[in-house]
Symmetry: none
Subunit: 198 residues, 4 copies
């Protein structure tokens, strides 16, 4: 009898209600889009989900943790590796996808979560672990392929390179400054790939 069996063997007591959990997450998702992270209250989540504040506080430390979960749950597997054969193509498609996400309904939610992360280290950690890391992984793969193919300069630090793609995007989102459309994505990738100097 393995440890896994023991872990999976049902513990005594009523198990956590999956229905309640998902109702909370769903209600939170809706509220995030409708009124935003800050205006949303725990009581509203409870009311809309049919659950209770006590239950929410039993499983999440506060509404921000619920919001992070809800935000992740509405982002499916996401951020697929484009793998077009060229680094420029990969970066372009990937960045267009990111801009599309930023301008979509979840964009503001994401911006607010990043904003909240400036005050709440736990939100920052969860965001980093759950989202930023997995997204960067795709770009790392793109980068590595480009270097292997000889398209990209091996003497540039990979993290720096990725920041050149990702940084301007987040900057535009957070400062509401500059377009977030396909043309902008293309222009950024082009400039990054070719550099600024003649």
């Amino acid at each position: 009898m393995s440890v896994e069996d023991t872990a999976q063997r049902a513990r005594p007591g009523r198990p956590r209600s999956e229905q309640s959990r998902s109702a909370v997450v769903r209600a939170t998702s809706e509220l995030l889009h409708e009124i935003g992270l800050r205006a949303m209250t725990t009581e509203q989540i409870a009311a809309r989900s049919g659950s209770s504040k006590a239950t929410i506080y039993k499983w999440w430390p506060n509404k921000y943790a619920v919001a992070v979960d809800a935000f992740f749950s509405e982002m499916q597997a996401d951020s697929p590796d484009p793998d077009t054969g060229s680094a420029r193509g990969d970066f372009t498609i990937w960045l267009r996808g990111l801009f599309h996400f930023y301008t979509g309904p979840s964009g503001r939610v994401f911006a607010q979560l990043v904003g909240e992360a400036q005050f709440d280290p736990e939100v920052a950690d969860e965001l980093r672990d759950g989202l930023i890391r997995t997204r960067r992984a795709v770009l790392e793969a793109v980068w590595d392929r480009g270097v292997e193919r000889g398209e990209l300069r091996a003497d540039v630090d990979r993290d720096v390179a990725i920041d050149l793609i990702v940084g301007p995007a987040l900057y535009r989102l957070m400062t509401s400054r500059g377009a977030l459309d396909d043309a902008a994505a293309d222009a950024i990738v082009d400039a990054v790939i070719r550099g600024l100097s003649r």
Copy 2:
């Protein structure tokens, strides 16, 4: 009788106390560094400054507006134009300066203000008007000189180019990911100037 006269002519009633104003701003500055934007309360500002809540609310709409004022007041005449003679040099010095600011005591305050701006459009506006625009102006000058000198590619959109410098910096500040030291600044400028492709 000009409008200026009317504005300057002493109106009846006790004039606004400059001492009170500056005490509020100073107290807010301290609190921002000590406990942060969110934890700071209007009551604390009043207590520490020796003023009263009513006075604060008379001159600022809420604590975030006070915080923006306090933040601006503690930033010196801001970001001088390096003008070293080369765009790479200018960008490098400028970005090192920004990183230094980000890692200094005001860095976290700035990050929190940007975070708060995600929820409060007025904070966003004030931040954009008072800080981001003036800072970008320097970079625009650097860019224009570089293009004139023939160092930089004229076919790149200026805003895109500036975002390549500024974006990665904000990204690293807001996600607490990646170093913010001189070496990082140099690496970013180098990569941006020369581009990623071989």
Copy 3:
């Protein structure tokens, strides 16, 4: 300029709102009669009085303290000294009055307050100080007059004597056992005055 003047001189700050205080007390009075001490909630008091929970908690430690105040406020000068000329007459009138009070609308409220006092020493203290002591004072005067007149036995402890009048009344109230009408009052006074032995 006396100390009293200094004490009465208005202290800085907005003075406590008498209107708010009395609205809270009045609302509490109503709720005590309508739904009882235990069922009444602070939120109901706030809603009905148009005040806020914060204000209530600022001036009273909890709803029970408000209830004590409300209970006292609805009992006017109360318990007058009958002074009929005979101790028996005084005791009779006084006890009839008490029974009348117990069977009136405030009777249940009083019983509940005494009940609550078993759990909350502050309620017990306030009740003792504000009510029980002032009432006993009347009976003490009645007793003393009776002893002076030679009607009553001087060798009986005054507190014991008063307890013989007051004790059975409270007993009947708290145990809902035995009548609380004029006949009962008369019977008790008669038995107490004349004693049980032949």
Copy 4:
């Protein structure tokens, strides 16, 4: 096949665990003395007794019912009839016993139960049925013997007479006013027996 048989015949399923029942009662007794009726929670009873909340709620409607049971279970066969030969002697011994009970560890528990009875009619009923009635029965016997012997006045209502003994005692317990020692018991009985008038 008699009714008793049917009742005793093992019904299907696991029978109620006597061990569980007594553990609950014992735990409740301890908690009543340690922290009091109000502070005690059902969860604490469950934890200390090793039972579960569901089991407790299966057999008792709420914690007050458990408390009543626990209180009764810790009171021995209760208040024996002194039968000293004289009514004064009987009353004295009986009242000393009551005072001793009131000042003992169970005194506060009893006071709290009477307090709770002001809010909960079921507690009131159980208390009246299980305790007050049986105790008064002893005093009724004492009274009847005294009347038969010619010691006591037959023209006094028996209930009134008993209230004169019992009332002052409860009054002193519930208002924490006046001593509850042997001397006080003697003084009360003496005054009641002889009456207040000369």
